[in-house]
Amino acid sequence: MTVPAPYYLALSAVLFTAGTAGVLLRRSALIVFMSVELMLNAVNLSLITFARLHGSVDGQVLVFFVLVVAAAEVVVGLAIIVDVFRSRETVDVDDADALRG
């Protein structure tokens, strides 16, 4: 590993913040969802980096599980978005204000 670990981690950090910005700033539920996937991938990168750093394969195993869960999550999440769209004709996140108190 000739590339020093901090490089990868820095990339991971930037991607993570980019994903966060996307979650907070975009109104389309689909794009928000994709930003979440971006965040997940950033974390995956850092996990792999640390696995290599410590010489332990446990980090990769964890990434495997993240993959699995992300897949399941995308399925369910998109199903929900479709459902919401069917009843309200919109995927605008700001329109989902039923939690208003």
Binding site: V93, D94, A96, A98, L99, R100, G101
Partner: protein, 633 residues
């Protein structure tokens, strides 16, 4: 327990039981049943008191001090106070007096309060009063005496304000309570000081050890004596705490007779006599007592001169006569003070009950300016009142003569010519004002036509008659037949003999001087009566003394001074405190509630349903945790 102990306990216990029974069930009894039950308990106390007296008399003089411990009341380490009664000559004599006069007044009340709906409540309070007063008199230590002291204060308040729907009566009751409370502060502080000095509150112990523990004339003894005297000043309505007694006349007349003439107001005198050993160690305090008594006596007598309310004349008269008693104890003439206490009880109660008979006949009128000429329709009442007049003025051979004469003689013999002079002058004033009262009420032309005026019914008349008998006879009896002073000697020590009857006093000073004093005082008293008769019955002296009259009418502006200096600032303080309570404290409390509500409303704005905002807050939380991780050492 021995027979003495049982009788001693019965004396306060019977009226106490009466109070309980009357309080719980008296309201449901028909007609006058409450009154008779109440009178019965007091009569029982009287019988017990007589029995106690006789039992003690059967004992040798040295053994006439019996302590009765009822239970261990306070046991807290060094503070050990039993609930103790003390049966000795002084308490037996006082108990007999209080119970006897109380019994007569209870019977009188049956008739006087017959038409009052609250009769059961009245008799319940009266019985409670009797229990408290008897407890006070029979107390074996200052703590039990204090219970009685407070109890009579409470009943005084309850009975003055008996007709509580009348604002004047309610105010008078509060005034009495508050003013005597002021005195009670001193009393309580004195009790604390006594305990601190003696380690006990027991009377026999105090009497025994006063000389050992208190240096003569020392600051400690003087302080204790003056503090206790403050309590007496309040309770016995001396200057400057007398202001409650004239207003207390708003209560029923038998109450005025019993509480504010014969018994409660004498508690201060009694207390000083009980603690005579202590007072003997503080000559300065005794001087204060004597001067206070003398000044009060003349002041009150002057106020009585200008009163137009019959009962208030008698109230000021009581204050004045109490001044005589304090004058007596102030020169260490203990037995003389007690003697006058007893005779005063008889003739003052007589005067009050006779006044009550007049009011009963006139439908509650007390203003003498609306009376006059009542001797014709009320001959018996007039005669009774007249007997009281003579007794009060000190005309021999009625009771007042002997006791007042003893006091004046002792004062003179103790070397206080000025005080004696004041006492003499007051005796003249006394004759004058009481004659004035008699004339305005019974003699002269009627101020208006009186309808349907009749004498009091028998249930009111017989106690009156009994008191007339006592007022006439008891002076001679207590001086020569069953002399009081030697009886009190075991309790009072040498001090009693000091004021023994005429014989011992004659031995103490030249017989000629003594005889001259006698003649002078009788002459002054008689002169006062004659002058009063001339002025008011014959109109001998016309003319005004406007300045003097105004000053007297305002009672030397003392009450106005109190109003300005004490009452008004207190009201202002109370108003300010109420404003603070409303404005500051309530606002703070409600402000907290309001603040919470406002905070809740503000926080509610966070719940606006915007998911992105919620996500932002999650991020903020994550940032905080991140910062913590990074900053952790």
């Amino acid at each position: 327990m021995s027979a003495v102990a049982v009788t001693a306990v019965l004396i306060p216990a019977l009226p106490l039981a009466g109070w309980v029974v009357l309080g719980l069930w008296g309201g449901r009894w028909p007609g006058r049943a409450a009154g008779w039950v109440a009178s019965a308990t007091v009569a029982g106390s009287f019988v017990a008191a007589v029995a106690l007296f006789e039992s003690l008399a059967a004992l040798p003089p040295d053994a006439r001090t019996v302590q009765v411990d009822l239970y261990r009341w306070i046991a807290a380490g060094a503070l050990a106070i039993p609930f103790r009664l003390l049966a000795d000559p002084l308490s037996a004599a006082m108990a007999r007096l209080v119970a006897g006069v109380g019994m007569l007044i209870h019977i009188y009340s049956i008739g006087y309060m017959a038409r009052d709906a609250g009769g059961a409540r009245y008799f319940a309070y009266m019985n409670l009063f009797m229990a408290s007063m008897l407890l006070l008199v029979l107390a074996g230590n200052l703590a039990v005496m204090f219970i009685g002291w407070e109890g009579v204060g409470l009943c005084s308040y309850l009975l003055i304000a008996f007709w509580f729907e009348r604002p004047a009566a309610a105010r008078a009751g509060v005034k009495a309570f508050v003013v005597t409370r002021l005195g009670d502060v001193g009393f309580l502080l004195g009790i604390f000081a006594v305990f601190g000095t003696f380690g006990t509150l027991d009377f026999t112990a105090i009497t025994r050890e006063a000389a050992a523990r208190l240096p003569l004339g020392g600051g400690l003894a003087t302080a204790i004596a003056l503090l206790l005297f403050l309590g007496a000043v309040g309770k016995s309505a001396q200057l400057p705490l007398y202001v409650w007694l004239p207003d207390a006349m708003d209560g029923p007349t038998p109450v005025s007779a019993l509480i504010h003439a014969a018994t409660m107001v004498t508690a201060g005198v009694f207390m000083i006599v009980r603690l005579h050993a202590l007072y003997l160690r503080a000559p300065f305090a005794l001087d204060v007592v004597a001067v206070t008594g003398a000044v009060t006596a003349v002041f009150a007598a002057s106020a009585a001169l200008v009163e137009s309310d019959l009962k208030r004349v008698l109230a000021y008269s009581t204050i004045s006569q109490l001044g005589y008693m304090f004058l007596a104890v102030g020169v260490a003439a203990w037995a003389a003070g007690i003697f006058h206490l007893m005779t005063h009880a008889f003739f003052k109660a007589l005067l009050f009950l006779a006044a009550g008979a007049v009011m009963h006949a006139l439908g509650g009128e007390t203003d003498m300016r609306k009376m006059g000429g009542l001797a014709r329709p009320l001959p018996k009442t007039a005669a009774a009142f007249g007997a009281g007049v003579l007794a009060l003025a000190g005309i021999p051979p009625l009771a007042g003569f002997f006791s007042k004469e003893q006091i004046l003689g002792e004062v003179f013999a103790a070397g206080h010519p000025w005080l004696w002079g004041i006492g003499l002058f007051t005796a003249g004033l006394t004759g004058f004002y009481i004659t004035r009262a008699y004339v305005l009420t019974f003699a002269g032309p009627p101020a208006r036509v009186h309808e349907n005026v009749h004498e009091a019914p028998p249930v009111m008349w017989w106690p009156l008659a009994a008191l007339v008998f006592l007022a006439v006879v008891m002076g001679v009896v207590l001086e020569h037949v069953v002399p009081l002073a030697p009886w009190l000697q075991p309790t009072l020590g040498a001090g009693a003999l000091k004021s023994a009857g005429g014989a011992a006093a004659a031995a103490a000073e030249p017989g000629a001087v003594h005889a001259m004093l006698l003649v002078v005082s009788v002459a002054v008293a008689a002169g006062g009566i004659v002058l009063g008769w001339l002025v008011y019955a014959r109109g001998a002296i016309r003319g005004q003394a406007p300045v003097l009259g105004t000053i007297l009418a305002h009672r030397f502006y003392i009450e106005d001074l109190y109003d300005a200096a004490i009452v008004a600032p207190s009201r202002a303080l109370a108003g300010w405190a109420a404003a603070v309570d409303r404005g500051v404290i309530d606002r703070a409390v409600l402000g907290v509630a309001g603040g919470l509500g406002w905070g809740g409303a503000a926080l509610r704005r966070l719940q606006n349903g915007y998911l992105r905002q919620y996500a932002a807050f999650v991020l903020i939380g994550a940032l905080i945790i991140l910062a913590y991780w990074m900053l952790r050492p």
